[in-house]
Amino acid sequence: MKDKAVITLLDGAMGTMLQEKGLTPGELPEVFGYHHGDIVTSIHKAYVESGADIIYANTFQANRKKLKKSGFSVQKIITSAIQQAKKAANVTTRVALDIGPIGELLEPNGYLTFDEAYDIFKEMVMAGEQAGADLIVFETMSDLMEVKAAILAAKENSNLPIFVTMSFEKDHRTFTGCCAASFALLAERLRVDAVGVNCSLGPDDLLPIVEEMAAYTNLPLIVKANAGLPDPLTNTYAMQAHEFANSLQRFTHLPIRYIGGCCGTTPAFIAELKQHAMTGTMVAKKIPSCVCTPTKCVTMDEVRVIGERINPTGNKRMKQALLDHDLDEIAAIAMEQIEAGAEVLDVNVGLPGIDEKQMMVEVIRHLQTLVDVPLQIDSTDPAVIEAALRIYNGIAIVNSVNGEISSMQQILPLIERYGANVVGLTLDEQGIANDASKRYQIAKRILTTAQQYHIEKERVFIDCLTLTVSAQQKSAIETLKTLHMVKEKLQVPTVLGVSNISFGLPRRLLLNQSFLTMALSAGLNMPIINPNHAAMMEAVYSFRVLHGLDVDAQAYIERFAEQKDGEQNKGNEKAGITIDMAIQKGLKEETRALCKKLLEKETPLTIVDAYLIPALDKVGNLYENKQLYLPQLINAASASQAAFDEIRQQLQRQGKTTITKGKILLATVRGDVHDIGKNIVKVVLENYGYQVFDLGKDVPVDIIVKTAVEKQIPLIGLSALMTTTLAAMEETIQALHACKHPCKIMIGGAVVSQEYADKVQADYYAKDAKASADIAKEVFG
């Protein structure tokens, strides 16, 4: 039959077989294999004889991290393992270099950097190709960032075919939360040769997961299932070979090309598969237009709001955050937009005096630890775009390319290499065309050129450009016309920055809202707007109802059920409450509202000194006397933080610098990653008006010393939570003393005590956040 494709058989478990031959728990199978080459070869041989066309060499964990203590080099183990496999191969058997996860999670889930992971894989890939492997298999992956590092390392350092499989749980997610759709999409975009699943579950449970993957890729699929689920106490698998093969028959409606076994399977399982002579289908389907992160896949068949606030242009808060290198503040801006309804965030960090490339990478990395919406990389510099795309975890949008030949030549190869989507601006060497048909022609040209670079149509999002209506009144209509033509004739997703329309006119929001509705009607998918403006999101929600996208107006009702017309901006004030009481009760919104009112008559400094600090002191005293406890103290600090936000924004609007009563450095020492305690201290200290330089967690000694000296910080706070990291704390204190930088040192954390502080010559022991504020008062007077 024409629409059927033959399935290639893979081998079954190696670990299970080695355990039967004497591998002990905790022992590295690769080292055991090195010493027992005959055992490994005999296992491979059994698989070849049972019908496996591709066998996986015993190299799963042969990376430099795992082999560190073994005394063996990566090359030595891999070379020997490939040879052992080749000995068992017949003329048609292909030997795969088998590569599993490194064993440490990558940023943002863990602490291994992308570059280090890339380098670890590169070493394995090069050793494998040199040793004569026929293909590279990455399997049992759970972290999409690691998958990306692995694929890039293989593509950029070898010419071998690449197979990738991840391990999913019953909820269709890997341990790190990666969904099947995002994995399939990324593998497809990075042009691997086959993609699929292995380990974790039996065939029955894997079926719906593979079905989900099949909807997002046209690549050949791989299934290497376990022999059911293991008995937790004995770690043995109950499924029989014929049950396994029968169960896999249910996969034949999918484009499956490779089937084998994972944990608990043996040569008997492969022999049974061989007898079944299974086939897969040959369907080529249209893959939906998507952007994604590991945990979230956003399709472009709906209106999707792109938040525009991570951009310093005309945004003083963002500008200040960039100048202060305050990544948490940028993350806060991101979270506010998501809360308001943004589904993608535009990220632009271009500011004079800032190293855009480095900042872009840091911001993206930080955002990806905290938010799960996809990002749009907004820059004109190809070097910045490439650096960002490389470490981006998922499939991003690049904003932007335009119709100029040089722009397309620089940007499009990057889009192809990293599998991204791109925004195409409808302008070219001649600038912005006035009439719609010319803009449409440029859109068409961008699309055709992109396809020449093998970028599929659904990956190009056309921006028809918004011009300021006060300067060029006729242009608004032309933008809408272009949108309509692009949508009708090219049938690609569209994106548009909306807010420009109203520049220079009063009631900007009114014009923005009206233009947004018109643009959505004309075919706009992705408006780039400020989602914190309620009017804009209201327009989006209304459009979704009127356009039939929001079925039964469910989302609309959920959002607006509690509101009545004319009551949208009702404040959160409770009658008769003072700011002092609001802080003590931890009421954030009330505190914010009261502070706004105070700002009408008082100076910011007066508010801090006469209202906020006394309120916090009062709470602190109640805490000391056990009339309040830590949750209440922290809630009070959080409330007071809301007031501080208001004050800071007011100062920014007036172009003034923020209030600071002194500089304090905070860090959780090297090796320690528990930092909630330090972060509580930070919130409290900031609310007393101190400028806190938070270096985060796992901070090396030299970074702490360097920052203290460079920024001339007189008070250093160090935190450690584990006995294993106390040594790093002591080392940091010694280094601070040795550099003769005049400063006081306070230490804290679960395992720290006054006795310990005395012993390691710290100046203060801060038993809690309140104590750290008292110490700061003593140091700064």
Binding site: G26, G103, N109, F175, G177, V371, S638, Q641, M722, T723
Partner: protein, 219 residues
């Protein structure tokens, strides 16, 4: 294996909050954060039994007096590892930026939950072994008493925790995801006394500020 998310007792959360007082806001936060936590957690558990020979395990070096005391009547041990998954870590980091008060409560809820998961596993194992006339010791974790924290790495290796439940350990013995526990439980032929948890066996009991402040870890 995926483990059913257990119910968490309010008093346990208060214990981790270090609070002896409940006000309206805190109550609201606890409810809200428990809901969020229940959405975020994916409890994963793995355990396996290993035999002991002369109170030592072939695959794990069990150092220190406290673990020897615990296992003095045991002929085998269960090594267990449990985690709430990576999403709780991410949520906590995000909350620490947006609202520290909520973050603190979420953290306490997560701590209480991972303990509840371990208690659940313990109870299930206790029942299973009771049927075979075998008795379990208390659950003992690395860093309790004088059992070195570094033993954690071997615990994870013998249960293949990276692969089976996605639990990793950093070079300085930190577990990733953070809300995770590894532990050892002895199996004996006689009823085992419950003695090993709480302040009495804690290496930090002399200097612990919580203890000085009157908060004790004994249940």
């Amino acid at each position: 294996m995926l483990w059913k998310t257990p119910k968490v007792k309010e008093e346990d959360i208060l214990h981790y909050l270090g609070s002896q007082m409940m006000d309206e806001l805190l109550h609201k936060q606890m409810e809200e954060m428990m809901t969020l936590l229940n959405q975020d957690v994916r409890c994963q558990v793995i355990y396996r039994t290993l035999p002991l020979e002369n109170h030592q395990c072939r695959y794990i070096k069990l150092q220190g007096k406290s673990i020897q005391a615990l296992l003095k009547e045991s002929h085998a041990v269960i090594i267990m590892a449990a985690t709430l998954g990576i999403k709780t870590d991410r949520r906590l980091r995000a909350l620490e930026i947006s609202d520290m008060g909520k973050a603190y409560v979420y953290n306490a809820c997560a701590n209480a939950m991972i303990e509840a998961v371990c208690d659940d596993v313990n109870e299930q194992l206790r029942r299973q072994y009771a049927k075979r006339q075998a008795f379990l010791t208390d659950r003992f974790s690395c860093g309790y008493g004088d059992l070195p924290v570094s033993t954690q790495k071997t615990f994870l290796q013998v249960v293949d925790a990276e692969r089976k439940i996605g639990l990793h350990v950093s070079e300085s013995c930190m577990l990733v995801p953070e809300k995770s526990v590894t532990a050892i439980i002895g199996i004996a032929k006689t009823v085992q006394p419950a003695i090993v948890r709480g302040c009495r066996v804690c290496a930090l009991k002399e200097h612990c500020e919580y203890r000085k402040g009157g908060t004790v870890c004994e249940r």
